[in-house]
């Protein structure tokens, strides 16, 4: 009894202390059920402004091109008037306009940035954020990519030491401790090849950097405009040597290779063009399409060569296509069709062994290959039969030596030719008997 009294006392004190919140939690299920029975208040219950007034506000802001605020109010209007079909449509349309405008201004910003017009770029990125406040890339540009770099990234090469790298960047091997310090390395230990190091850019009074990257980038850009791709490429390679992760230099490098590929393609030097396109990162806009176009042109060329029976050249062109694109089905088909065609030609020329050699290089899964191989054997048997009959003719004319030669030819073409085998033995026995009689 005493124990029970204590429990009640404890419960009593607990309720007093926790009050409303505690009891609500204690009786959570019950209250929830009560709320479920009483649905949320309708707009009339709450006596707030009607949805139309929020809709008006939204339209007013939309007119002023304050699209995010317009969207806020539109969503409120939509909640207050859940039966409206027009409001959700309007919300969707606003969202789509916002996305479109954000994308448009962001692209403009990136273009300005590429031209190093940072003030204009900043404005465009700010507008992007006005339309789309959570646009991560615009924020990244604003925060990190519009100011001069505080450090460069260097990719360690085989056998590089920190002293070598220090000499390269600071013209002074004794600043190796600085590189070690900022990359958590031990000054004496050589860095691992392939590691990307952060190299702080020092003020010119401490040392002058061997390369002025912003100026070099402008040079490369101008050379590209003048279509001097090779020179532009040399500069970008040099920049990337010092700043391995320099995005602008990578972009220019891709652009240079792409332009060179287009130029070579225009000169119908397709394999060389593909080589250039292959050096461009696959994400570069248009490069995949450019490679495909060149491959298509090469396939047309190979088909023409096939018609002209220039088989070895077909193999060379299609083989190169497969070098660039291992899974190119059209090139693989072409190679196997060429083998079949070559095999058929050799059948006509009665060069069955060569035909089989050629067809053995083809993919046996191809129907045309299967059929041509079967044709070779059929032709061989047919030819063997011709030689067999010739042998019979010679035998009847008592020209035993000639008959044996023909049957041997038949046997060579068809080793299973039993009659030829048997007749050769008979003829040779006859010849032996004739020798004895003589």
């Amino acid at each position: 009894m005493k124990r029970l009294c204590n429990i009640y006392l404890l419960l009593f004190v607990l309720f007093i202390f926790t009050g409303c919140a505690g009891v609500r939690e204690f009786l959570g299920d019950v209250t929830d059920k009560i709320e479920e029975k009483n649905p949320p208040k309708t707009p009339e219950d709450t006596k707030v402004l009607p949805a139309s007034s929020y809709l008006e506000k939204a339209l007013e802001y939309e007119k002023k091109n304050e699209l995010q605020t317009a969207l806020f109010y539109m969503r409120i209007a939509g909640t207050l008037n859940p039966d409206s079909t027009k409001i959700p449509e309007k919300i969707a349309s606003l969202k789509s306009t916002i996305n479109y405008k954000a994308r448009q201004h962001f692209t403009k910003g990136v273009k300005f940035c590429e031209k190093r017009r940072f003030k204009d770029a900043r404005r465009q990125f700010l507008i992007t954020l006005r339309y789309s406040p959570n646009h991560k890339e615009a924020l990244d540009y604003l925060k990190n990519r519009l100011d001069s770099k505080k450090y460069l990234n260097y990719k360690v090469k085989e056998k590089d030491t920190l002293k070598d790298i220090s000499k390269k960047f600071y013209k002074n091997p004794s600043k190796d401790f600085l590189i070690a310090y900022f990359n958590n390395l031990k000054a004496g230990n050589p860095p691992v090849s392939g590691t990307i190091l952060e190299i702080p850019v020092l003020e010119s009074k401490f040392n002058r950097f061997p390369i002025d990257i912003p100026i070099e980038l402008i040079k490369a850009e101008n050379l590209l405009i003048e279509k001097k791709c090779k020179e532009a490429l040399d500069i970008t390679e040099k920049i990337l040597e010092y700043d391995h992760l320099n995005k602008k230099a990578s972009d220019l490098k891709n652009s240079a290779y792409y332009q060179m590929g287009i130029e070579l393609s225009g000169q119908k030097k397709y394999p060389e063009a593909i080589k250039m396109f292959k050096k461009v990162t696959p994400e570069y806009p248009g490069v995949k399409e450019a490679i495909q176009q060149v491959i298509n042109k090469e396939l047309i060329k190979a088909k023409t060569l096939l018609k002209e029976k220039q088989y070895e050249q077909v193999f060379a062109v299609a083989g190169k296509i497969l070098d660039y694109d291992k899974s190119n089905k059209a090139a693989e088909d072409l190679i196997n069709i060429t083998f079949c065609q070559q095999g058929k030609d050799l059948i006509i020329r009665k060069n069955y062994t060569q035909a089989l050699n050629v067809l053995n290089r083809a993919n046996p899964q191809y129907d045309c290959v299967k059929k041509t191989i079967s044709d070779v054997y059929k032709a061989k048997n047919k030819q063997a039969e011709v030689h067999y009959l010739n042998g019979v003719k010679h035998f009847l004319n008592e020209e035993l030596q000639s008959a044996i030669k023909e049957w041997e030819k038949a046997l060579a073409l068809n080793p299973e030719h039993k009659k030829a085998k048997k007749n050769i033995n008979n003829a040779r026995n006859l010849l032996k008997k004739l020798e004895k009689v003589k």
Binding site: F15, F26, P133
Partner: protein
């Protein structure tokens, strides 16, 4: 007899339990505080109708869990005060983190003060009356003095701050900050940050660690301004680059440890001595986990400022209120359409 006694006991327990439940139910009804006229919109907004008892601050406390955020409701609804029956939209998220508007973007002035005097101004010393007048001007003209954390939240594009925000900082650790500025700031309820260079503390004209602790406990942010206040960008005479580098490391790492030891608080920001810096210093600050650093460049700061080159406007002794006002630029015009 025994079963009857047991029955009575059971009935008694049931009655007692029911009594407790009734009591609890009463408590529930008395503590229900939500308004009858409120609508929640997708967890982003609440629409409420203000009653005569409501203030911006009470609504902010109720719906944003922070009474100091009344300005957020005011700014969203374009109002300065509340009237009974007024319908308000309360945003439950920072609706404009960077302070971007169609006509430009928000900037935050960070004021840098040094020392104070009772009535004799000098280049770096401001009189008590002048400082008071400046704080009064901020209060009466709708400026919000924000904390260092709010400022960094704004620069991180995480937190929205009031349209007319300003931050107050003090350099070095002069005793006059404690004697003159501290009581005035307390009177106005303004937060501030003090950047100390640790070798100065405890000296003749400097605050003691005890006084700094008192300021820290009163809510002032104590951050550092190196160990010795050396110029971080220049080599001293006959100093080798390696010695300079070692010295930088000491200037940056030592005060962090001392502040941690003396105040048990993390030092995350630094004010550059003479307001100047270079890439090497910034790289080292990052290595030591500093979140931000301040120069003395007389400009206000947009959210996208380099956090290791935050501008501050130095307020000198002979500034009249007109000159002071010019340091309070809170908006940069730029067409953002």
């Amino acid at each position: 007899m025994q079963p009857l006694a047991n029955k009575r006991k059971t009935i008694f327990h049931i009655i007692l339990l029911l009594f407790l439940l009734v009591l609890a139910a009463c408590a529930t009804s008395t503590r229900s505080h939500h308004k009858t006229s409120e609508i929640r919109i997708n967890d982003d907004f609440i629409i409420v109708k203000a009653t005569a008892k409501d203030t911006l601050s009470s609504l902010a406390a109720e719906y944003l869990n922070d009474p100091s955020k009344g300005w957020l409701i005011a700014e969203f609804n374009h109002i300065k005060s509340l009237t009974s029956g007024q319908e308000l939209c309360i945003p439950l998220f920072p609706f404009n983190k960077g302070g971007l508007k169609s006509g430009g973007f928000q900037t935050v002035p960070v004021l840098a003060y040094y020392s104070f005097s009772k009535n004799k101004p000098s280049k770096i010393s401001i009189t008590q009356d002048d400082f008071k007048a400046q704080m009064k001007y901020l209060k009466e003209n709708g400026y919000h003095v924000i904390t260092l954390n709010q400022l960094l939240g704004f620069f991180d594009y995480q937190e929205q701050i009031p349209d007319k925000s300003v931050a107050i900082t003090f350099d070095d650790g002069w005793i006059s900050v404690y004697d003159i500025a501290f009581p005035i700031l307390k009177e106005y309820g303004f937060p501030a940050t003090i950047f100390i260079y640790t070798d100065f503390i405890g000296g003749g004209k400097a605050m003691s660690w005890k006084q700094i602790k008192e300021l820290s406990d009163a809510g002032f942010d104590i951050q550092c301004q190196t160990k010795t206040h050396r110029n971080l960008t220049e080599l001293r005479e006959k100093e080798s680059f390696k010695e300079y580098f070692k010295s930088l490391e000491m200037e940056i790492s030592y005060p962090k440890k001392v502040i941690k030891k003396k105040l048990n608080k993390e030092c995350e920001c630094l004010a550059y001595p003479y307001g100047i810096t270079n890439n090497l210093v910034i790289a080292m600050l990052k290595k030591y986990g500093y979140r931000a650093a301040f120069t003395v460049d007389n400009k206000s700061n947009p959210f996208f400022i380099d956090k290791y080159k935050i501008n501050r406007s130095a307020i000198y002794g002979k500034y009249d209120i007109e000159k002071f006002k010019k340091r309070l630029s809170v908006f940069q015009n730029m067409e953002l359409k």
